[in-house]
Symmetry: C2
Subunit: 130 residues, 2 copies
DNA sequence: TTTGAATTGTTATAATATAACATTATGTAA
DNA sequence: TTACATAATGTTATATTATAACAATTCAAA
């Protein structure tokens, strides 16, 4: 059994907020929402975000500068992520496909190089927006 | 035969700079480098970048907020991109793998949804940095 | 129980990106 | 050619995202 990371106070506050959010949250929106809990400065937010990303509790959607909670229980570490993003409503969903992750984890470039980590973002229209 | 986009003056200046650069360039570094050519404001740079991305002449490396020229002649439009990024020296290489692009273009999520566009970033250590 | 690493708090500032509006150039159809 | 629409440009101001630097505190392991 893995040792679970015990979140610190700031990390827990910020994780809870992101985890409850139905959509990716941006850093300054997080800041605004946690100010009543005593987190007053951007750096406090960014530090917690960095740590949460590092331990795999949240992921960063790079093309949107936003963060979502990981619901893929096997993500102990952020090393292989895939998302679908609706270009109209901006809904983001984490993709968990054994086939996809296997394919990408084993992908070799033309020099035979394999990679330890990847991030994939698919774009299109979600069901509602088609 | 496709109609090639004729680049405007600003677009051409900025494309040439990125195209000559051995590494991804950031917007404000581009701005600094083209000021002697009369491009003085961030917006002039961002507008040219947006257009160049749109027509597939350059790609944005989302995780780095940086831009590289596309050397994949089939990229008329930016819709399917894959890169490898060295986590030490930050060298970025565009991956062109028929197998990979075919796999991703045909990927369906568990709802059977296909996507029109994707961006994939692999991370690891390049040959020099291993 | 001290010591070393991680976390926190705080102020200031750097880096990235867009809003709004006026003007100029370019292509296309009458 | 004219005139209309579209795209590109120039400019100022500002919004958004992220980090530097340093002091203080917490907390677990030796």
């Amino acid at each position: 059994m893995h040792k679970e990371h015990t979140l610190t106070k700031n990390q827990q506050i910020i994780f809870d907020l992101i985890d409850k959010s139905p959509e990716p949250m941006k850093a300054y929106s997080i800041l605004f929402n946690v100010q009543k809990k005593g987190i007053k400065a951007p750096l406090q937010v960014y530090r917690a975000l960095d740590k949460l990303v590092e331990i795999g509790k949240i992921h960063k959607i790079e093309s949107r500068n936003a963060f979502i909670a990981c619901h893929n229980s096997s993500c102990r570490v952020a090393k292989a992520t895939a998302f679908s993003i609706c270009e109209i409503c901006e809904k983001v969903t984490e993709i968990s496909s054994a086939g996809l992750s296997k394919y990408l984890a084993n992908f070799k470039d033309k020099d035979g190089m394999k990679y330890s980590k990847y991030n994939l973002e698919f774009f299109g229209l979600c069901k509602k927006c088609r």
